[in-house]
């Protein structure tokens, strides 16, 4: 059923009790052309574009829990494309362009709100680095504006821009087209649109091993039985090492925990996304009114989906230092997700040494914004058995070939990216 003002009115007459399910929940078939492991945003977007752009609809998405119960449903939804290096810039900008049309394309409101993403600069060196990055972005056709202190103060009057502030603000780099989207809606909208094109979405079905014979993938063993597949795509984010190991692959990835927290809801007060790399902090306001905030990963390997208090204390301290007016807000919830941190801070999207097996992961703490772009290029890679122009650089073998993509120049330390 197409969602529209008419379907809304029609269903209002029956007290909204007769809406049909947004997607089917079929049993797995014995075989598919393509099986995607992982029903997060990336797996669902891949299946959607396989069906829509490449005419492949004998496709299953196999998810061990519920749709979007991984990082998709845990993330703080910042969408931006403000990268320095070319490979990242073009890939994330393509993704941002897909975001701009996603609600229309899916016939599902993903509530994409281009409220701007503002990075604060606290030192002259940081301001210089921002002007370099901003110029690189503009040369790549991406919107960027360098702001000085007074412009930042006018844009976000709640920020403490006084020279005596705990973290003095000298300026910032603004990407006006950046913003937020609604995380659950992204999973649901993609699932509904993929399902409508014939994709089977199979929840509560964990892949326990990958069958490989003579260097080619044959299918996956799951908690709901064996499923044969001509091609298999892995899109399991924090569990990348674990699932890739089922096919004998070792990855340059560590899994770390990233936390976020929300305050009690308040009336609209903050209309943009503010972040500070130096202070390790970011905040935005959700449509429900909560302030959504976070900072760094906890910094040690973890699959626990929960973190520890020092990060929470740091994040709240940074909030209050930057925005003194929030000092009496109460925090309501905190949670964590498992981040697939690559050792150069950039994702891996492409073929593997095993025929018919493809890998998409290493999203670090920033893969939500990549959701449509990742699905787009991963679907292309799987359907054509070769990378799309936009993911050619993100190969697994770049590490041995000396072509790492280290946007921040941090070196091979997962917890530093």
């Amino acid at each position: 059923m197409k969602y529209s003002i008419f379907s809304l009115a029609r269903n209002a007459v029956s007290y909204h009790e007769n809406w049909s399910a947004a997607w089917r929940s079929p049993d797995p078939k014995p075989a598919y052309d393509v099986v995607i492991i992982g029903g997060g945003g990336h797996g669902l977007a891949t299946a959607y574009y396989l069906a829509k752009e490449h005419g492949l609809n004998n496709v299953a998405v196999v998810e061990k829990g519920w749709l979007g119960g991984g990082n998709t449903g845990r993330n703080t939804t910042i969408v931006r494309s403000n990268y320095l290096l070319e490979a990242n810039a073009h890939f994330y900008e393509h993704s941002l362009k897909l975001w701009e049309g996603l609600s229309q394309d899916l016939n599902f409101n993903v509530m994409f709100s281009q409220r701007g993403v503002l990075n604060l600069a606290h030192t002259p060196a940081e301001l210089d680095a921002f002007s370099r990055r901003g110029n690189a972005m503009r040369l790549n056709g991406i919107d960027a504006e360098l702001l000085l202190r007074d412009q930042v103060r006018r844009m976000v009057p709640l920020l403490d821009c006084s020279p005596a502030a705990r973290y003095p603000i000298l300026g910032g780099l603004l990407q006006p087209r950046g913003g937020n989207a609604r995380h659950d809606a992204v999973a649901w909208g993609l699932a509904r649109a993929a399902d409508a094109r014939g994709v089977d979405i199979i929840q509560n079905c964990e892949v326990t091993s990958i069958r490989v014979r003579a260097g080619r993938v044959e299918g996956v063993e799951t908690t709901r039985g064996y499923i044969a597949a001509k091609k298999v795509g892995i899109a399991v984010a924090g569990h990348s090492s674990h699932v890739a190991a089922m096919a004998g692959l070792r990855l340059p990835i560590e899994s770390h925990v990233l936390q976020a927290l929300v305050s009690e809801p308040v009336k609209p007060i903050l209309d943009t996304v503010v972040s500070s790399g130096a202070v390790h902090f970011y905040v935005s306001q959700s449509d429900k009114g909560e302030l959504v905030m976070g900072g760094d990963i906890d910094g040690y390997n973890s699959y626990a989906q929960r973190g520890n208090f020092p990060i929470i204390e740091h994040v709240v301290g940074a909030l209050v230092a930057l925005f003194p007016c929030f000092s009496r807000l109460r925090m309501m919830r905190c949670w964590g997700g498992v981040m697939d941190m690559t050792l150069d801070g950039s994702p891996i999207i492409g073929k593997t040494p095993i025929g018919g097996l493809y890998f998409d992961g290493g999203w670090c703490y920033g893969g939500f914004k990549a959701t449509p772009g990742s699905g787009w290029v991963f679907a292309h890679t799987i359907a054509q058995d070769r990378p799309h122009r936009l993911n050619e650089a993100f190969t697994l073998d770049r590490f041995a070939a000396g072509r790492t993509i280290d946007d921040k120049g941090m070196g091979p330390y997962a917890w530093a990216h």
Partner: protein, 92 residues
């Protein structure tokens, strides 16, 4: 909060420590003759288990020494610690 047991100072709050990652990474003895593949393995490939993980920590706020910890990555439980030249006791 992690309570990490430094082999020299005893149990201390996690905020006194810095993480150092996989404890089993060894610098190859023959870098001149190493293949690119083997070199990349050393620089970029890490153990990333669900469960017991052998890792390095640095006690930056006190004795400033590196040491080994076996920690469960599913529960964060500290299973064992040891000095760098000692064997880490097994644990799951």
């Amino acid at each position: 909060m992690l309570l990490i047991i430094c082999p020299w100072c005893g149990p201390r709050d996690q905020t006194e420590f810095t993480y150092g990652g996989d404890a089993n990474v060894k610098r190859p003895a023959n870098p001149d003759t190493l293949t690119d593949e083997a070199w990349a393995n050393y620089v970029f490939i890490r153990e990333n288990p669900r469960g017991a993980h052998a890792e390095l920590w640095h006690h930056h706020a006190s004795c400033r020494r590196w040491f080994k910890v076996r920690r469960n990555t599913m529960t964060h439980e500290i299973l064992a610690t040891a000095k760098l030249d000692e064997e880490l006791p097994a644990g799951t």
